[in-house]
């Protein structure tokens, strides 16, 4: 973990997490997350279902409040800002949601134009040009008058990326970019992320459990398990890591102590009998 990517190690951190803890009610989901994201890097947050990776992402964009700790984004602590300040920070970030979250009642063009209409004083004609540009960047030129329901899964994802790009964000977040897509379409989305990275030098944070996609797009990776960071490092470091938990995840070894389906049924029925 000491030898980090040479080009990126000097870059200053854009996001710093300090002992971040998040709870839903009584249950703590994240137990003290601590890492930096550097300007211009693509950081992939890896983890299985229920590892807390989605919660981490939601906390990073301010949708969940941490129970303790700090999230520094461009020198502001997300855990302590007012809602106005939070909105100012959010104007410089974009997020592509797992289910794309396009507004079904608006056309693709209106979806992409929405942040521009809300936050800028630009003329309609300028917004029109900008939204065409954004759609072109994601390979959806000519689809501005379609409704989201008329698009395929992959196209919806692309439209969502165009909307996230609308305000020219400094930081771009992706929640499971390849979820629910076939491998070819998913590879297309990976390609899109790589192109964005090359073209705009944005800081990109991706949450995923897709290993192939993670290794393709990442500069660095964080592996999260049960709310703790298991490992953090460059792609090469992760690949050559000897940590058992990392190996297990990367080599896709099933959890040994998981009960078989029959055992599970048996415990259930026993519990039921005892209850009676």
């Amino acid at each position: 973990m000491d030898q980090e990517h040479p080009n990126l190690s000097e870059a200053k951190p854009v996001i710093s997490l300090r002992d971040l803890r998040v709870s839903y009610g009584e249950t703590e989901i994240l137990h003290g997350i601590h890492f930096d994201v550097r300007a211009g890097e693509t950081l992939v947050i890896l983890g299985g279902s229920g590892s807390g990776k989605s919660t981490l992402l939601r906390t990073l964009v301010g949708l969940e409040k941490p129970s303790s700790g700090q999230i520094w984004i461009n020198g502001k602590d997300l855990a302590a800002v007012s809602s106005d300040e939070l909105y100012e920070i959010r104007k410089k970030t974009g997020m592509s949601f797992q289910g794309s979250a396009l507004f079904g009642s608006m056309t693709v063009g209106e979806n992409v134009a929405l942040p521009l209409r809300e936050h800028t004083e630009l003329e309609d004609s300028t917004i029109e040009i900008m939204l065409r540009l954004k759609l072109e960047q994601v390979g959806l030129a000519g689809f501005e008058y379609h409704l989201p329901s008329q698009l395929s899964g992959g196209m919806k994802k692309r439209a969502a990326v165009a909307r996230a790009l609308a305000m020219d964000p400094e930081i771009l977040f992706f929640d499971e970019p390849s979820a629910g897509l076939d491998p070819i379409i998913a590879a297309g989305i990976d390609q899109l992320i790589l192109e964005l990275k090359k073209a705009f030098h944005m800081t990109i944070i991706v949450v995923t459990h897709e290993l192939a996609s993670a290794f393709l797009i990442a500069d660095r990776m964080v592996l999260i398990d049960k709310g703790n960071i298991v490992a953090i490092g460059t792609v090469e470091e992760m690949r050559s890591s000897a940590q058992p938990r990392v190996r297990q995840f990367l080599d896709r070894v099933p959890e040994p102590d998981v009960e078989g389906e029959l055992d599970y049924l048996q415990t259930l029925t026993e519990r039921y009998r005892r209850h009676r």
Binding site: R58, L63, L86, Y87, G99, L114
Partner: protein, 271 residues
């Protein structure tokens, strides 16, 4: 001597009361924020979504007219029949017009309007916002630094507080016409005389108290529908649950608000 069951019962009541108070608090907060974006926001550079509000007004108000007209016309007719049953015995059939006009504009006009609007729009608010919540669209608004209350709730709020009084006036009129059908066919009124009698029996305060109530109903219905939508959990079946809850709670709260305001008007000497 309070047994274990007794204690549990008491603590359940306590929990129920705190939950209800917390719910009312959330409603008040949502209503307050919607009011802020409607009345104060425009003076602080936060544009009022008039286009969206107009579309909502069309949906909430204009499209409700046919069904509301039919229902309130029948209610007026029923009121005339019921009051004639008693007034006829006293030989005071000429008071039917007054009875119908008063009960429509003071009570039933606003209440029936509210219930029709709950069924059509309160449920729709919860379903629309709940679906958006489930598909992460509400989160998407937040992340784009657009307040969901500003974007979604405020236009509905404005549409409701404008349209509910309008619908109520319409409902009053249709109720009186319903009563007139009875008056003309069964009680020797002419249509002109019936309407004349209705108008003469109404004071401005009768109509105004109904309109004030209808504005409060509008606020209640919007707040409940939108709050239920915004607090929808994950999954499509939760949207259905939110919609049902929105309707049930709105009806309950509208009746409570009705009672509070009717009592207030009564004790303030307006009654």
């Amino acid at each position: 001597m309070v047994g274990e069951n007794g204690m549990e019962f008491v603590s359940q009541i306590g929990a129920g009361v705190t939950d209800s108070l917390a719910y009312l608090g959330s409603l008040a907060m949502l209503g307050g924020r919607a009011a802020y974006y409607t009345f104060v926001g425009p003076f602080q550079g936060k544009s009022l979504r008039l286009q969206s509000a107009a579309a909502q007004a069309m949906e909430v108000g204009v499209r409700a007219l046919p069904i509301l007209s039919l229902i309130t016309f029948f209610i007026g007719l029923i009121l005339a029949l019921q009051s004639a049953y008693e007034l006829g015995k006293l030989g005071a059939m000429n008071l039917v017009a007054k009875a119908v006009a008063l009960s429509m504009s003071r009570e039933l006009g606003p209440l029936i309007t509210a219930i029709v609007v709950i069924g059509r729009s309160g449920s729709a608010f919860a379903a629309e916002i709940g679906t958006m919540k489930v598909s992460e669209e509400i989160d998407a608004l937040e992340v784009m630094a657009i307040s969901p209350v500003h974007f979604l709730v405020a236009p509905k709020f404005l549409a409701m507080i404008v349209m509910l009084p309008c619908l109520t006036i319409w409902a009053n009129t249709m109720g009186i016409l319903g009563g007139a059908l009875f008056g003309v066919t069964q009680a020797d009124f002419t249509l002109g005389r019936y309407i004349q009698a209705s108008i003469e029996s109404l004071y401005l305060r009768d109509i105004l108290s109904g309109l004030i109530k209808s504005v409060m109903f509008g606020i209640t219905i919007t707040a409940v529908g939108c709050l239920e939508g915004l607090s929808t959990g994950g999954g499509a079946e939760q949207v259905g649950r939110s919609t049902t809850k929105a309707v049930v709670i709105s009806i309950l709260l509208v009746v409570v608000v009705d009672l509070v305001f009717t009592a207030a008007f009564f004790f303030l000497g307006n009654g």
